[in-house]
Symmetry: C2
Subunit: 308 residues, 2 copies
């Protein structure tokens, strides 16, 4: 397990986003419920920021809400197919008569669900984000092959030029900072993804939060907190007028400097993938600089054994 | 504006939870959409953890999703009645023909919406959490007067005995720690409430997160992060078997000690209010120890003026 292996994994993303798999969903349904944890569950959360035609409820716990039934499209997402929370929710959704679908590389989930997209195994779940997100985008946002090719080309550009991401990741480690990542719609869960990538790849605590909500609470702490020098504040550039004004005003009122990462891309989906992949390289470089193996998730595995 | 004023505010909570106001909602509806920011928006989030009969979507931004329409129960919540994000969402929901309700002390929101609960003004929005949450619980969970009286008595007990909360709040300040608060269902948003109370009352940065999701990412950082001594780790006691095992396993695998606050109360609603009020006194004591005015929200006000 060397850093090179992990980079090779990251570089598969441009191939992942080309997959054209989709689900044959019913013409009428009331709501979408997506169950998934960690690196698998993030795709439901990212999707919920792009799709607004029906309510989307993302579950990252053991139980489904009472309303799940025959008018629900339920999607269980687990890269391994053996995540206990997702298996529990999927079993409950099947019993309630929901339209049940799955995205997985195999495992128990594959055995439980008839209508599924089977994706290649052998990656870290968090590195398979393209394989897991594309079936949702293809199904509900009708992304076509041309669009997927464009997305793939954009991702390839980051694979070839991620100097800014690597520089930032290294700086965070050398200056020994805790990343505080502030997103905004539709990239709130990109901030969360970055936080989890710092956790898993770099073994580093990180904070995520989002505008405009944080202006109603965190703004007070940003001005007056102790240990402010502990944090490295990051947000995204290129936001709409209102959010952009809020970011500028927050910097001014609280005397805080935000590092701004401005995504390339022609639409929200491209920008989302740009930022996600930027975070992949950034957190990898933090790991390398800290001499941490980005693939190591041994405490998570230890914990799973302990609670069995 | 002395600390005493703020304590008097906190002590009104036991009176707040007695209010019997509720909404006359339609017999049939598909989903509930609640719009609110910060100390007002938190009540929708807390409610979403207790009610599972229909999808509940909480908005804390400027826009409503496309699905909002005549089968939606929409509730705008703004203590002042002048929160620009909530006014924007409420106007959009009215245009889409949703069943629109409001909880407010007045302002523009009161003028916009016909079916509303008008609550007393003069408090900090975050101190009016009982006034804003009870109409939701009364309407959708059919809380009766007897139940409300019991809740009021429990809150009074905390008003009279909050030594543990005050001790903890003081310790956090004296040891100069950043609170890292880890909740679990149905108290995920209690952890968020504590985070925002540390932000606004104590002017202190804080982190919130929740089990079991954090076991899929933060577990790696809890073992190996630098600056771990910066944080004060808190969770809640008295959880169900699975979550309780996860907390114990997380402590063991990551060599982390969590301070556990165990709520009193006979059901989830009582425990939720217990924990909320515990957090009120805890964050107040942190403020006092830091010589910060818990009522001061001047940066938030400055920011609102800047973005006008």
């Amino acid at each position: 397990m060397t850093e090179l292996d992990f980079i090779e994994e990251l570089k598969t993303l441009k191939k992942q986003v080309i997959i054209g798999d989709s689900f044959n969903i019913p013409e009428h349904f009331d709501n979408i419920v997506i169950s998934g944890m960690g690196g698998s569950g993030i795709v439901g959360k990212l999707f919920s920021e792009l799709y607004h035609t029906k309510p989307v409820i993302c579950l990252d716990d053991y139980n489904i809400p009472d309303f799940v039934g025959k008018d629900t499209v339920f999607i269980g997402i687990s890269y391994s197919g053996n995540t206990e929370e997702t298996i529990s929710c999927t079993n409950q959704a099947l019993k309630k008569g929901a339209h049940v679908y799955a995205i997985t590389s195999g495992g128990d989930l594959s055995g439980l669900v008839k209508e599924k997209v089977i994706i290649p195994s052998g990656l870290q779940p968090r590195s398979a984000i393209g394989y897991m997100l594309m079936p949702l985008l293809n199904t509900f946002l009708h992304i076509d092959a041309e669009k997927r090719e464009a997305l793939s080309r954009l991702i390839n550009e980051i694979d070839e030029h991620h100097e800014e991401a690597s520089k930032l990741g290294k700086e965070i480690s050398l200056e020994k900072k805790i990343p505080a990542i502030y997103g905004f719609s539709p990239f709130r869960y990109v901030a969360y993804r970055w936080k989890t990538q710092f956790n898993e790849n770099s073994k580093l605590m990180a904070i995520n939060n989002y505008f405009p909500e944080l202006n109603h609470n965190d703004t007070m702490s940003l001005r007056d907190t102790y240990l402010k020098e502990t944090f490295f504040f990051i947000t995204f550039g290129g936001s709409s007028g209102k959010i952009s004004r809020r970011i500028d005003a927050t910097e001014k009122v609280t005397s805080t400097k935000f590092f701004k990462v401005t995504p390339l891309g022609n639409d929200d989906i491209e920008k989302m993938f740009y930022l996600i992949h930027f975070g992949d390289y950034m957190s990898l470089e933090t790991a390398i600089s800290r001499k941490m193996d980005p693939r190591d998730v041994s405490s998570i595995e230890d914990l799973k054994r302990l609670i069995k």
